[in-house]
């Protein structure tokens, strides 16, 4: 099967993000950027399917600024065959991302689109399900295990009341969760090899999709500061402090 994995360039998860003083957003200048960790898990899973022979072509795509090429090169180094950059310097909302991916899916004809369950910058968690609705393809969300079975997939999902095992026919959309795998480290030889792999550049504006944001971001602020903490000298003192909060230790599960 052919797999398409969309990847997003985000602020690295180890960076302590800072809100700009003027409230215009989060500081992204001079900050280490990386592939969204959940997308990395999606790429890893697709590479494993490629290595196992269930996938015969793995295409990665990123929608974003020119620098997103770095993210695509990382995905190529991890084992993708081909990369596509859909370039846009503006903020593209998930609905517009899903519309761009729908157009790309029509062109690339993948059997499976594997996505991270969410990006760790805007935490929207929308692109996968939106793409499923636009393409009218079935979706399995929050995959902890994916098994290819003929023209179908069997997926273990992280659901609200435990794990659920579902089957869905291809073509399909699957969003991946943390438990699915542990992505490999990129080796230097594979980074060098990745430079030879094809990377196609397209302009988002050429897709005939309305890219104008529907939501206005009025302000971005730091979270409310936590009240000044207190050192306690012993377990007894700690217990007394906790018991001063009415009902805190009742321990009734909701």
């Amino acid at each position: 099967m052919k797999i398409l994995v969309p990847v997003k360039r985000v602020v690295d998860h180890k960076v302590n993000v800072r809100v700009r003083a003027d409230g215009s957003g989060v500081e992204t200048g001079n900050v280490k950027m990386s592939m969204n960790p959940f997308d990395e898990i999606a790429v890893e899973e697709a590479v494993r399917m490629r290595e196992a022979g269930t996938c015969d072509e793995l295409v990665v795509v990123s929608i974003g600024p020119k620098q997103a090429e770095d993210t695509l090169r990382t995905a190529l180094a991890l084992g993708a065959d081909k990369a596509i950059l859909i370039e846009s310097d503006e903020r593209v909302e998930p609905l517009a991302v899903a519309k761009l991916l729908k157009e790309l899916a029509a062109r690339e004809a993948p059997d499976l689109v594997l996505l991270g369950k969410q990006a760790i910058d805007d935490d929207a968690a929308q692109t996968g399900p939106m793409l499923s609705a636009l393409l009218d393809w079935p979706i399995s969300s929050f995959a902890a295990k994916i098994e290819a079975k003929d023209d179908a997939l069997e997926v273990i999902e992280e659901a609200d009341n435990g794990r659920e095992v579902v089957t869905l026919p291809l073509p399909a959309i699957v969003t991946v969760d943390l438990q699915l795998n542990q992505p490999r480290n990129v080796s230097l030889p594979s980074v060098i090899k990745a430079k030879q792999k094809p990377l196609e550049r397209l302009a988002a504006a050429d897709f005939g999709v309305d890219l104008a944001p529907r939501l206005e971001i009025l302000a971005t602020r730091a979270p409310d500061p936590r009240p000044e903490g207190k050192r306690v000298g012993s377990v007894d003192e700690l217990l007394a402090a906790l018991r001063s909060h009415a009902g805190l230790l009742e321990g009734e599960a909701r």
């Binding site: 609905l95 399900p129 793409l131 979706i139 869905l168 009025l218 903490g229």
Partner: protein, 309 residues
């Protein structure tokens, strides 16, 4: 403005999340209807009908729908969407799967996981796992919104909503449930628990994690969490991970045992109402962050706390 709320339940009882979503709905509009999808919903429906502020409880009820997937639920919501201008759900796994599908079908840009309602069209939501808060204003006539339920007090009881059966019901779609692997432990779920006890890499081994963290959690009827480092060391399964790449929790009480407080962990728990840190290192970031920090030997302090509770 009429509001359609997706009701959450586990097949036998209404999820408390639903009451919080109804409370959020009351801040956005009037005429709030709650949709329940499943089978044998009678008692769940009467629970939902008591939620203050609910006008109607709509039942999509059939044997097939006992195993309804998020795809089926979003299709049902789309089929009855006409009279509504706002669609709300908890931002749990079901809400996160179903609501963006509904939004795309309605050509609406969804607003994910709001934590405050500043006006009918203006909301606050956390980004970067809560390290920043964004104020968003929608210019859309219709809106699809998911709600962080821990940010809203549950709607009170005392309502008298009318219960209505929907028909005809759409057939279920291409995704089929094969089996469920229910969590059989009595422990509450990490992202719903009132109290979370978490362990870090300083515990040293899976055996020590088991010996120190679980008894304290059991005594408090708490969920068990862990730092990424502790998960990477194999002390506990990945599903226990609290942090930016794990679960984001906002319990009443969070007790961090031997957790240093790396950025990515703090991102997942800084929304807790009361944070306790038990750590031997007075310089650990979590000691600064905590409401109550006990700098002590973990291996003595944690069992002592468990004992004295």
């Amino acid at each position: 403005m009429s509001v359609l709320v997706l009701g959450h339940h586990n097949g036998s009882a209404l999820s408390p999340a639903t009451a919080s979503v109804v409370a959020a709905a009351r801040k956005i509009g009037a005429d709030i209807d709650v949709l329940l999808v499943g089978h044998n919903l009678t008692s769940i429906a009467s629970e939902a009908a008591q939620l203050a502020g609910a006008r109607k409880v709509l039942l999509a009820e059939s044997a097939d729908l006992a195993e309804a997937r998020a795809t089926d639920i979003s299709d049902i919501m789309f089929a009855i969407a006409d009279p509504y201008s706002t669609f709300l759900s908890a931002a749990n796994a079901l809400g996160k799967s179903a609501m963006p599908r509904l939004a795309a079908k309605l050509d609406v840009q969804q607003i994910t996981e709001i934590t405050a309602i500043l006006g009918p069209d203006t909301f606050e939501r956390p980004i970067y796992a809560g390290n920043a808060i964004e104020t968003v204003k929608t210019g859309q006539i219709r809106n699809v919104i998911t709600v962080r339920t821990t940010s809203f007090e549950a709607a009170a009881k005392g309502g008298e909503a009318v219960i209505e059966h929907l028909s005809p019901l759409p057939s279920t779609g291409a995704v089929k449930l094969l089996r469920t692997e229910r969590d059989e432990s009595d422990r509450p779920k990490l992202d719903e628990a009132r109290i979370v006890v978490s362990g870090g890499v300083s515990l040293g081994s899976a055996a020590e994690f088991e010996r120190l963290v679980y008894p304290l959690a059991d005594k408090l009827s708490a969920a068990v969490g862990a730092s990424r480092a502790a998960v990477d060391e194999g002390f506990v399964p990945n599903e226990c991970q609290v942090g930016q790449t794990g679960k984001v929790v906002a319990p009443e009480l969070y007790i961090a045992c031997g957790i240093s407080g790396a950025i990515q962990h703090v991102a997942g728990m800084r929304g807790a109402k009361v944070i306790v840190a038990i750590n031997s290192d007075p310089e650990a970031p979590i000691v600064k962050l905590a409401d109550y920090a006990l700098v002590a030997d973990l291996f003595e302090a944690v069992p002592e706390l468990t004992e004295k509770l």
